[in-house]
Amino acid sequence: MRAPTRLKAAIVAAVRRLSPIKGTQTPIAHKSLMMSFAPPDAAAEPLFALRGVCKTYGQGETAVRALVDVDLDITKGELMVLLGPSGSGKSTLLNILGGLDRATSGQVRFEGELLTALSEHALTLFRRRHVGFIFQFYNLIPSLTARENVELVGEIADDPLSAVEALELVGLGKRIDHFPSQLSGGEQQRVAVARAIAKRPAVLLCDEPTGALDVKTGVRVLEALQEVNERYGSTTMIVTHNADVARMAQRVVRFGDGHVRSVEVNTERVPPSELVW
């Protein structure tokens, strides 16, 4: 059962050996190697398994059903894009997957373990060990430099990347000793990506990571995400309002009114640089 994981780990290690860690040039060249993994292996145990997940805010007349009976398997290592109109429940789903919020009913399993049964403290530890978050508004700590923001999570991770490594991976080798207020939005978002990946999380949850960015910087951020997804096999979920971003995903999930409307597998993926806004 662990075989595919081990195989993938071997390949990731090989990729790592091939790719120069130093330098700001993103080694996109190896992407084609990883592309052969898509579509995901449906037989493998999913990283997340959701069964009948409901989320209701409020009660009675004014209750809002943000998620309704969601069933979804998320495969290890896949890059998934979530689309859907505003208010359709995308963020809600991401928050539940990341252990920030709890489902009202239904089951959420992570590697077989029932997240819905975990205590508040256990959820914190779950986030700490396995989850990398990237948000629309970056959420960097303003009193820490780029490097220190990344080191921050390194301090609580088991086998983190060095801050410099992580920042170079997102193409930010130079401005690492700047404070967030001294960086552009795109740079800040790349710091956030570096912060999220530094602990080599099992899952990267990205809620509108390019929402506040222009095309060019948006592409750089998406490239960084894809790079991490391929290099470390972090399962990556990207919520976006930009339908075109879906073309870089292995699978695309469409939301509507709290329901999963459709799940599509991309037969052909497009690198972020070819996406149009």
Partner: protein
């Protein structure tokens, strides 16, 4: 209500916790102010009324013996309005069940009517019947201390005759509001009483038929006290007058004046602390509000409100805080004052003492409260006034952090990221950080002061009883006796060693200054009662010349080597020039010291002594006490161990109360400052702290960022608090220095340790209370919002 006023009340409501902090701190300070100033006024009024109603003497004099007709000459002395001649003396009392005989001041009542000067207030019973020689009035404090009441009897040895006296009334007098017995260093109610009795009975006891040995005077309007005293002394010179003196030398009045002075000190010292802290709190709270209200300020100005109107709008909220505090403080001050008035009334046995704070007192309290609030908000309000509308409407520039100085950067590099967040914030907001730290430092300082004062008092007692006065008993004679009496004293049961002493009133002159003081004559080789020099070490009295207590030397502006002029207070006022050979630190009293023989010669009483200090064999106490009760001519017997015990007991009670009050005050101060600072830190960092939680930091780890900042500031405050406390303790000790006490500064490490530990605990508690907010952080909400 105008829209702006509505906003004002909403603002105040939003800041209600800060407002509560400011109001509480102000209330603490202003209640002490109202209490102390009101109490001072009330005491002054009570004293004045009491003195006026009971015709308190302006001048008193004692003499050996003058025929009654001399009274007319005294009445005719310039400035004298009323004179009352009396027979007065001291006696040892024999009370059933009381082994050590207390002493009493005996004062005659006129044959008819009431005393024209120094009248008594009879609280129970009646005046003695002149035809019943054994009827007496007994002073209330003494009666209470021994549970004596009307109908009880006590025995006294009057001129060798043992007499049984029957209590017919309990009384008080303005002359004896505060008294302590001959040879006693402190007031002990159970050791000294006042007995008023019929003049004939006392005249017979003292063999003074048709004569008097004491007189008290009231001055007329426009009288010149100095001239009157001179005139009285001239009249009484042939009759052994001991020198008339004014209220400044009457122990009771002098002590009350000291008490009033201490109330004034208290009225300024403690409230000042609280006003400063309140200003800090206002500064912290309003600084934050105005920072978050930038865009509102811009809007108000864009709508056409003037800078002054905007400034006034924000200042008003600070003034509302102050008004609440002043209101609370006024009520608490009155309640507090009424409690203290009860204590004073019971202690001094004033006929009545109502706490009344004058309107001016309240006005002062309110003004001080407003001043503190204005001082606190001035900075922020001016910033609001200065903010240009266009600038205010743009979003605030993000807080620019920097890595600061090289040294600090190197230090930061060695910290973990969470500690770095703390460090950067402290460095980035230095004014607020120092405000918080200073507030905490003040709390530490307050406790250092509060704990140092008892240590100083303890030290004073230690030195007084351990080094200065090593005798077991001090016998004070009713009048000076020949030194040969020492043999007799030495033969009393249990006496191992007897050491003579003299005490005289003298007038000292130097550099145009004149001080009336007591001078002690101490034998050159004193072993029991010794003069205390520098560093509280015993000192031999000067063989030639005079040693002055520091306070006395300061009053006279005299230094070692100066020559001062000493003058008798009585008779021909013989004087002599004497060289100052030492400045000494007796801590108790501010007297002068000379060698016993030299003093006796100067006083033209060679070979005469005022009493003796005794070293005793404890097993013979019973026999000793029995003998002295029967021995005439002893005015008082002071038992040092007993005095020390009762002094320490009274003192410990006072200290317990004081420690409690000061700890509460310090807790309000430190807790208030820490609470405000923590709440603002939480508000400002809500987003960052929530982000940390999202990233997988536990509540404990995130709490560290909040609490760590506060504790770091509190730790920074420790050295400042210790330094400030030490300076204030030294300063306060100077303020509290009186003619009766002077304290050396005592470094008391446990006091410092307590001050620091208690304050840090208060800060930590406040931080922990605010910390609960971390459990409620909205992790999801914070992700949706742009910062």
């Amino acid at each position: 209500m105008r829209a702006l006023d509505k906003k004002l009340f909403r603002d105040v409501w939003r800041m209600r916790l800060h407002a509560a902090g400011v109001a509480l701190v102000l209330a603490c300070g202003l209640s002490v102010f109202v209490m102390a100033v009101g109490m001072r006024g009330s005491m002054e009024r009570t004293r004045a009324d009491y003195y006026a109603e009971r015709r308190m003497a302006d001048i008193a004099v004692s003499l050996v013996r003058a025929p009654d007709r001399v009274a007319r000459a005294l009445a005719e002395a310039p400035g004298v309005q009323t004179v009352e001649t009396r027979i007065a003396g001291y006696a040892l009392l024999d009370l059933p069940g009381v082994e050590e005989p207390p002493s009493a001041r005996l004062v005659s009542l006129p044959a008819q009517g009431r005393p024209r000067v120094n009248d008594v207030v009879i609280t129970r019973g009646r005046l003695p019947d002149p035809t019943h020689a054994d009827e007496i009035l007994l002073s209330q404090a003494f009666a209470n201390a021994h549970a004596l009441d009307i109908g009880d009897t006590l025995a006294a040895t009057l001129y060798g005759r043992r007499q049984t006296l029957r209590i017919v009334g309990i009384a008080n007098s303005p002359e004896f509001v505060f008294v302590s017995g001959p040879g006693e260093l402190f007031r002990q109610a159970e050791r000294f009483g006042v007995i008023w009795m019929g003049r004939d009975a006392l005249a017979r006891a003292y063999d003074l038929d048709g004569a008097f040995n004491d007189a008290v005077f009231m001055l007329g309007r426009n009288a010149n006290q100095v001239e009157t005293i001179r005139a009285i002394d001239r009249v009484l010179d042939p009759y052994g007058g001991a020198g008339a003196y004014g209220r400044d030398r009457m122990m009771s009045d002098r002590f009350l004046s000291e008490e009033l002075r201490q109330l004034s000190t208290m009225a300024t010292f403690l409230p000042a602390f609280f006003l400063i802290i309140a200003a800090f709190l206002v500064n912290i709270a309003l600084g934050r509000v105005i920072a978050t209200e930038r865009s509102n300020i811009g809007l108000l100005k864009a709508f056409g409100y003037s800078n002054a109107a905007v400034a006034w709008h924000y200042a008003k909220s600070a003034l509302i805080f102050a008004a609440i505090g002043a209101l609370l403080g006024s009520f608490a001050g009155v309640a507090f004052g009424r409690m203290v008035a009860d204590l004073y009334r019971d202690y001094y046995h004033f006929p009545r003492l109502d706490f009344v704070a004058s309107p001016a007192t309240f006005a002062g309290a309110w003004a001080a409260g407003f001043a503190s609030a204005i001082a606190g908000c001035l900075f922020s309000v001016l910033r609001a006034a200065r903010l240009a509308p266009a600038e205010a409407l743009t979003p605030p520039r993000p807080t620019a952090f920097n890595t600061a100085g090289k040294g600090l950067a190197a230090f930061a590099a060695r910290l973990d990221a969470k500690s770095r967040i703390i460090l950067r914030r402290i460095v980035r907001f230095p004014r607020r950080a120092s405000t918080t730290a200073l507030g905490v430092a003040f709390a530490i300082a307050l406790l250092v002061v509060a704990r140092t004062m008892p240590a100083e008092m303890n030290y004073l007692l230690d030195v007084n009883f351990g080094v200065a006065n090593r005798q077991d008993v001090t016998l004070t004679f009713a009048e000076a006796r020949d030194v040969g009496v020492l043999h007799e004293v030495g033969r009393l049961p249990g006496v191992i060693y007897a050491e003579p002493f003299r005490i005289d009133d003298i007038v000292l002159h130097h550099n145009g200054r004149t001080v009336h003081e007591a001078v002690f004559g101490v034998p050159a080789e004193a072993r029991l009662s010794r003069v205390i020099g520098a560093a509280q070490a015993p000192l031999s009295p000067p063989v030639a010349g005079i040693a002055l207590a520091r306070a006395l030397a300061e009053k006279l502006d005299a230094r070692v080597g100066d020559e001062i002029y000493l003058e008798q207070t009585r008779g021909r006022r013989i004087g002599a020039h004497v060289r100052v050979t030492a400045i000494v630190e007796p801590m108790l009293g501010s007297s002068a010291y000379m060698e016993l023989g030299a003093l006796a010669r100067l006083m033209r009483e060679p070979g005469r002594i005022s009493g003796a200090h005794l070293l005793m064999d404890a097993s013979d106490y019973g026999a000793f006490n029995q003998r002295i009760k029967e021995t005439p001519g002893i005015a008082g017997a002071s038992y040092v161990a007993q005095a020390e015990h009762s002094m320490r007991e009274e003192f410990d009670q006072g200290v317990g109360m004081m420690n409690f009050i000061y700890a509460a005050f310090a807790a309000v101060m430190a807790g208030g400052v820490a609470f405000s600072a923590a709440r603002i830190t939480l508000a400002e960092q809500e987003r960052d702290l929530a982000t940390l939680r999202v990233l997988g930091f536990t509540r404990l780890e995130v709490s560290y960022v909040l609490i760590g900042e506060l504790m770091a500031l509190a730790l920074l405050a420790v050295p400042a608090g210790i330094a400030l406390g030490t300076v204030l303790a030294i300063w306060l000790m100077k303020l509290f220095q009186t003619d009766m006490y002077s304290f050396p500064f005592v470094f008391h490490p446990p006091g410092y340790a307590f001050a620091v530990a208690f304050t840090l605990a208060c800060v930590l508690t406040a931080a922990l209370v605010v910390r609960a907010g971390i459990d409620k952080l909205d992790m999801i909400g914070v992700l949706k919002a742009r910062d």
